[in-house]
C-alpha cells in the first residue's frame, strides 16, 4: 500500500511540473530578480551596476513623487471600488429579480467586461475630448458648460475613476449576483409573512447573508485597483503634470528612463502593498477549506 501511495505521490508531482515550471520561471524568479536589481544602482548606459543595499529604497521612500503616487493609487482604489460595489450591488439586485428581460439584461451587463481595457479607455478618451467629446457636447447643451476633463488634476482623476468603474462593475455584479442566488428563497418568504417590507428585508436578510461574498469581492477588486496601469496609461499618461501617476506607472516611467534600480525598487514596494491584501484575500476566501 505504501509503495502505491509513494508512486501516486510521485505521479502527482510530475503532473504539476509543467504548471510549477511556468509559474516559477516566469513569475517567481522575475519577482526575486527584480528585488535583486532593486539592491543595485542599475542605470542603462552606465557600465557598472554596483550593489548599493537599500539605498534605492531610502531614495524612493524620501521622494515626494513616490508618496504622491501612493496617494493617487490608494484613493483611486478606495473610490473606484466603493462606487463599483454600490453600482454592482444595484445591478445584481436587478438581475436577481424574475424579469422577462433578465437574459438580455445579463448579456448587456457583460458588454463592458468583454471590451478590452485599452479599447474602452480610448473610447472614453474620445468622449472626454474638450472640443469634440460627447460629454462636453451634452454638458454645453444642458447649459452646464464644457469641462476640461483630462486637463486638470482633479477632473482627470475622476475621469479615470469613471472609466474604470464602467469597465469593472460587470465583474462585481456577477460575483454579487452569485452571492444573491445562494440566499435561500424561503428566508424571504418567511419575512414577508412576518410583514417585513422590502427595505427591511434588504437590510436584515440580504446584506448580512451577502456579506461573505461582498467582502471577498471587495478585496479582490481592491487588489486589482491597486495594480492600476493600463487605463491611466491611455487616458492621461499619468498627467496633467504627473497628477494621475499610479505607483505602477511611476515604476514604468523609471524603466523607460533606463533607471532599473529605482524602477525595480518602486515595483517591489508595489508588490509589498498588494501582498498584504492578497494574504487577507486568501485567508478570508476560505480557499483551503474548499479544497478538502
Amino acid at each position: 500500500m505504501h509503495r502505491i501511495e509513494y508512486h501516486e505521490e510521485k505521479f502527482a508531482y510530475s503532473m504539476l511540473i509543467p504548471l510549477l515550471a511556468f509559474v516559477i520561471i516566469f513569475i517567481i524568479v522575475p519577482v526575486l530578480g527584480t528585488f535583486w536589481i532593486s539592491l543595485h544602482r542599475d542605470v542603462t548606459f552606465f557600465p557598472t551596476k554596483p550593489y548599493v543595499g537599500f539605498k534605492n529604497y531610502l531614495f524612493v521612500l524620501t521622494k515626494r513623487d513616490f508618496w504622491y503616487s501612493v496617494f493617487v493609487t490608494v484613493s483611486f482604489a478606495l473610490i473606484s471600488v466603493a462606487l463599483e460595489t454600490l453600482l454592482g450591488l444595484s445591478f445584481a439586485l436587478i438581475l436577481n429579480e424574475k424579469l422577462k428581460v433578465r437574459g438580455i439584461l445579463r448579456a448587456i451587463v457583460l458588454i463592458p467586461w468583454a471590451i478590452p481595457t485599452i479599447i474602452s479607455a480610448r473610447t472614453w478618451e474620445l468622449m472626454y475630448n474638450y472640443t469634440y467629446g460627447l460629454f462636453n457636447y451634452i454638458f454645453t447643451k444642458l447649459g452646464i458648460g464644457a469641462i476640461n476633463w483630462l486637463g486638470t488634476p482633479v477632473s482627470a482623476f475622476f475621469a479615470i475613476v469613471l472609466a474604470d468603474v464602467w469597465k469593472t462593475t460587470p465583474f462585481m455584479t456577477l460575483l454579487l449576483l452569485a452571492g444573491l442566488q445562494a440566499i435561500p428563497n424561503d428566508i424571504y418568504e418567511a419575512a414577508i409573512i412576518d410583514g417585513a417590507n422590502m427595505f427591511y428585508r434588504f437590510r436584515s436578510i440580504t446584506i448580512p447573508l451577502l456579506k461573505p461574498v461582498l467582502v471577498v469581492a471587495v478585496i479582490l477588486r481592491t487588489i486589482d485597483a491597486l495594480r492600476v496601469f493600463d487605463i491611466i496609461y491611455v487616458l492621461t499618461g499619468g498627467g496633467p503634470g504627473g497628477a494621475t501617476t499610479s505607483i505602477s506607472l511611476l515604476a514604468f516611467n523609471y524603466y523607460n528612463l533606463g533607471d532599473y534600480g529605482v524602477g525595480s525598487t518602486i515595483s517591489i514596494l508595489t508588490f509589498v502593498l498588494v501582498l498584504s491584501f492578497t494574504i487577507l484575500y486568501l485567508k478570508i476566501g476560505k480557499f483551503k477549506e474548499g479544497l478538502r
Binding site: 508531482y13 503532473m15 504539476l16 439584461l105 448579456a107 473610447t123
Partner: protein, 278 residues
C-alpha cells in the same frame, strides 16, 4: 402606493439606467467608426455623414499594420489558451484526485502568485527576455502569458473537478485504467463545459493583456491589438479617431459575440475562479 408597485417602478428605472450606462460607450465607438468626421461634434454646423471609409482604411492601409496586430493577437491568444488549459487540467486533476504533500499549499500559492502586480516582474523579466533575444517575437508574450493565466485556469478547473464524484475514476482505475487514461477518458469528457469556460476566459485575458505586450514588442511583427490601438498613429499625424474606433469595433465585436453567446460559461468561470470558499 403599495410595495409591489414601488418595487416595479424602481426595477424599471434601474434596468433602464443599467442598459444606458452599459451600452453608451460601446454605441459611441460604433457611431464614430461610421462617421466621416470624428470631430463633428466640435464644429459649428454639425454635419453627420456616414461612411465605411474608416473600415476600409484600417483593413487595407499597409502602414497601419492593423491586420498584423490582429493576426498576432489571435495566434498568441490561441496558443496560450491551448497550452494553459492542458497544463492546468493536468495540475487540477492531480490536486483533486491524488493525496500528496503540498496538495493544499500548491494551489493556494499559485492563487497568491496571480495577485502579484505585473510591474513587480518587469525589471527582471525585460532583461531576461532581452538576453534570450526574444524581444519582438511571439515567444516573448507566449511564455509570460501562459504563466500569467495558469492560476485562473487551475482554479476554475479545480472547482469543477472537485465536484465530480470520485467513484467515477475509482471505477475506471479498478477496471485497470491508468491515471492518464482516467483523466483523458473519464474526467476530460465530463468536464467539457468547465474546459470551455476556462478556454474562453484565458483567450480573452491573453487577447486583452497590455503591459507585457507594450514592453516586449517593438513593431508589427509581434505587436498585439491593445498596444496597436493604444499607440495608434494616423497616416498624417493627427489623432485618427475614426480609424481608431473602426479598429476597436473590429477587435471588440468577436469578443462581445463570444461573451453574449457563451455568457453562461463565462459567468460560471468568473465566479468559480474568484469565490472558491463560498
Amino acid at each position: 402606493m403599495n410595495e409591489e408597485t414601488l418595487k416595479k417602478i424602481l426595477l424599471i428605472i434601474g434596468a433602464t439606467l443599467m442598459t444606458v450606462i452599459c451600452l453608451f460607450p460601446f454605441t459611441w465607438m460604433i457611431v464614430i467608426s461610421f462617421t466621416r468626421d470624428a470631430t463633428f461634434l466640435g464644429s459649428t454646423s454639425i454635419k453627420f455623414e456616414t461612411t465605411i471609409q474608416n473600415y476600409i482604411t484600417v483593413l487595407t492601409e499597409p502602414t497601419l499594420h492593423f491586420l498584423s496586430y490582429l493576426k498576432n493577437s489571435i495566434v498568441i491568444a490561441t496558443l496560450v489558451t491551448l497550452i494553459t488549459v492542458s497544463i492546468s487540467a493536468l495540475g487540477a486533476y492531480a490536486i483533486s484526485r491524488i493525496k500528496f504533500r503540498g496538495r493544499l499549499t500548491i494551489p493556494i500559492f499559485v492563487l497568491g502568485v496571480s495577485m502579484f502586480p505585473q510591474i513587480s516582474l518587469i525589471g527582471y523579466l525585460f532583461k531576461f527576455i532581452e538576453k534570450l533575444g526574444w524581444i519582438n517575437t511571439y515567444k516573448a508574450l507566449f511564455f509570460p502569458y501562459v504563466a500569467w493565466t495558469l492560476p485562473l485556469a487551475l482554479w476554475i478547473l479545480l472547482s469543477y473537478f472537485l465536484q465530480l464524484p470520485k467513484d467515477l475514476d475509482e471505477a475506471a482505475l479498478i477496471d485497470g485504467a491508468s491515471r492518464v487514461q482516467t483523466l483523458y477518458k473519464v474526467i476530460i469528457p465530463l468536464s467539457a463545459p468547465a474546459l470551455f469556460s476556462t478556454a474562453l476566459l484565458v483567450f480573452i485575458a491573453a487577447f486583452n493583456e497590455f503591459m507585457f505586450a507594450l514592453l516586449f514588442t517593438t513593431d508589427y511583427r509581434a505587436r498585439t491589438v491593445p498596444v496597436g490601438i493604444a499607440l495608434f498613429q494616423g497616416v498624417h499625424g493627427e489623432v485618427p479617431w475614426g480609424n481608431i474606433m473602426a479598429a476597436s469595433v473590429i477587435s471588440t465585436i468577436p469578443l462581445v459575440i463570444l461573451a453574449l453567446v457563451f455568457q453562461r460559461y463565462i459567468i460560471s468561470g468568473l465566479t468559480a475562479g474568484a469565490l472558491k470558499g463560498e
